[in-house]
């Protein structure tokens, strides 16, 4: 059983290897390799999850047998296993579900590069989840930025290239701040491994030394990751980036990449600085305010859109707000709710993006609401997928969005009145706003079309088998997370206690 301790390392190396092998391959072969690798990743991460659940403790994998404080380490616990498992699965499903558009949107000679990028992106995400070394985290943040920009710009239309540039600019601002933050931390602690840094930070805090530089370093890292994950007021790049990319890229970027940055931030909070020190520094209060503002602004912007993809993209900005609000509550219950919402959003947003692309396909490729009227009848599976995703985001019981909202609400009850009231009020307002724009869309797609399409299309299931399977799996995952949430929240709680 101890062999499982190698799996995090194997997982990261496998993606790197697949990226290199895919380079000279044809697009089709490269896609097969990627899908195979992502399936293997899911199994490896599931094994790590079960191993850590069984032993009840996390383990450290020392690279090259060079121990602390000099070597480089990976670390896996329940939370890491859970996230890695879900992320690999969502990656697999997003690419399978968006594969029709990958063929339409990408030149044939460049298709293999797309899969090279997705392999690298998966590797970077896994490394961000598993790493125990803060500088390695920085390097993989940059790798994921470049790979994410790659899967964005591969669709060669003007708007996407512009979106890629803006994404890149904001990402670089974020990673620059993160870099100077970790340099300051290294300067203060003299270490790069998280455990050693933690010991030094404890020493500094107990002696009351260098508190201001420490706070500055935490703020810089937080600001950097907030920009990169698209928290209000840095969400300007979000709609173009998620809205104009090919559907698979949109799902991966909004569902996974932004979450990778949030996870590494949570990891730094718990493993490097110590959760109590973070809450005492007041940074969580700032995140709380911006999270709340992000929820409202994102939802209101989503209402104003007349394009289904941009609407779903703005809703992503609001969901990032939820996650930061959970972190901002400053309690471990809030943190657990934020982690649950990471999972919830990681499976719901790809479902929405992919089913929205199916609805557009049945409406002569248009993404505008007026053309989508009645598309729920023309492509029944996509309609079903979109409805489930929308209901989950609104917070309908049975689906995962409901559990997220319950967790946020119950976490807010445990904190002071000053935070409880805003949280509950914003949750209520945002549920109404979500209902306005999501249910309006659902009603739209199930209203019979007023005009006849020039070429009446009705996409049947045998024309889109893999697409339908992907939608069904996403819907099933949504139900599983919604109905068996107790197991997942227990695992998250256990994972968070393993962090400290």
């Amino acid at each position: 059983m101890d062999f499982i301790k190698n799996f995090p390392f194997f997982g990261i190396m496998l993606t790197m290897l697949a990226a290199i092998i895919s380079l000279p391959m044809h697009g089709k072969m490269a896609k097969r390799i990627s899908l195979f690798v992502f399936s293997v990743e899911t199994l490896l991460a599931a094994a790590v999850l079960f191993y850590t659940l069984q032993t009840g403790e996390s383990f450290v994998y020392i690279m090259g047998h060079i121990g602390a404080p000099w070597g480089n380490e990976l670390r896996a616990g329940v939370l890491e296993g859970l996230m890695a498992c879900f992320f690999s699965l969502v990656m697999l499903l997003s690419i399978t579900g968006g594969s029709k558009h990958l063929i339409l949107d990408i030149e044939e000679s460049k298709r293999n590069f797309y899969f090279v990028m997705t392999d690298l992106l998966m590797g970077a995400l896994l490394a961000l989840i598993y790493t125990n070394d803060i500088f390695t985290a920085y390097v993989f943040i940059e790798i994921s930025t470049i790979a994410a920009c790659g899967i964005l710009m591969i669709r060669e239309i003007g708007r996407t290239t512009l979106a890629a540039l803006r994404y890149m600019i904001f990402s670089l601002l974020g990673s620059g701040l993160f870099l100077i933050g970790i340099v300051l931390m290294y300067d203060l602690t003299g270490h790069l491994l998280m455990q050693n840094m933690r010991d030094s930070v404890e020493l500094l805090v107990s002696e009351g030394q260098f508190i201001i530089p420490l706070t500055v370093a935490i703020s810089l890292m937080t600001l950097g990751m907030a920009i990169k994950s698209g928290l209000f007021p840095f969400h300007f790049w979000v709609p173009d980036t998620y809205g104009y990319s090919t559907p698979a890229s949109g799902s991966i970027l909004s569902g996974l990449v932004s979450k990778g940055y949030i996870l590494i931030l949570i990891k730094i909070y718990c493993r490097v600085i110590g959760w109590e020190n973070v809450t005492q520094s007041g940074i969580t209060d700032v995140l709380f305010v911006f999270g709340l503002a992000g929820i409202i602004v994102g939802s209101i912007s989503a209402i104003h859109q007349n394009d289904i993809r941009r609407m779903v993209a703005f809703s992503s900005a609001a969901q990032i707000g939820y996650i930061f609000m959970g972190v901002g509550l400053g309690t471990s219950a809030g943190l657990a709710a934020a982690c649950f919402h990471v999972l919830c959003h990681a499976i719901t947003k790809p479902l929405l993006f992919i089913s929205a692309s199916g609805l557009s396909d049945a409406s002569e490729g248009s993404k505008l609401f007026r053309d989508l009227q009645g598309s729920g009848y023309r492509n029944r599976w996509a309609g079903l997928g979109f409805t489930v995703g929308a209901l989950s985001m609104v917070g309908m019981p049975m689906f995962t969005g409901f559990i997220s909202k319950i967790l946020f609400a119950s976490a807010s009850v445990q904190v002071s009145l000053g935070k409880m009231l805003p949280t509950l009020i914003v949750l209520a307002i945002s549920t109404v706003l979500n209902a306005v724009y999501f249910l309006r869309t659902v009603i739209r797609i199930y209203t019979p079309a007023e005009r006849e399409l020039e070429v009446p299309v009705r996409i049947k299931w045998h024309e889109q088998r893999s697409y339908v399977v992907v939608l069904v799996v996403f819907v099933a995952l949504n139900l599983v997370l919604g109905l068996l949430s107790q197991y997942i929240t227990d695992a998250i709680q256990l994972g968070l206690t393993m962090f400290s």
Binding site: F135, Y138, V139, E142, T145, I146, C149, M153, E156, G158, R159, T161, L162, A164, L165, M168, I169, L172, L173, G176, L177, L179, I180, V183, Y186, D187, L192
Partner: protein, 125 residues
């Protein structure tokens, strides 16, 4: 007293000022090439910060010469290693940004983001 250590930490101060210059250029300048230059200033400032932190007066680069193996004779190699890694990252990101600017310039014949944005919106209609 506030500012008492300012001149003792001159290198760090310069690095932070440079970081600020690079950051604001990357954020606010409308010209893509100048943005890329800003990004490079920003990253170089971080490397300068690291290098100046890692340097100890009177010690040599950590390469053993003339058989001197005492750790007192050399500086810590890790900050220098981090600078090298950082440079590699910064070069690849710069290349990526330049590739994107070439693609945008070929399409819109301008390097100003405002104009590109205007043209792109016209294209939509």
């Amino acid at each position: 007293m506030f500012g008492a250590n300012l001149f003792a930490n001159l290198d760090e101060m310069v690095a932070i000022i440079l970081f600020g210059i690079g950051f604001t250029t990357l954020l606010f300048n409308r010209n893509i090439i100048k943005k890329i230059i800003g990004f490079n200033i920003m990253d170089t400032a971080v490397f300068f910060f690291l290098a100046s932190m890692g340097y100890i007066e009177g010690r040599a680069a950590p390469i053993v010469v003339n058989g001197v193996t005492s750790s007192e004779a050399y500086i810590n190699p890790i900050p220098s290693g981090l600078v090298l890694t950082g440079i590699v990252v910064s070069v690849s990101v710069t290349a990526m940004m330049l590739a994107l600017s070439i693609r945008l310039y070929r399409r819109y014949h301008t390097l100003y983001l405002d104009e590109i944005y205007m043209f792109a919106q016209k294209e939509d209609k």
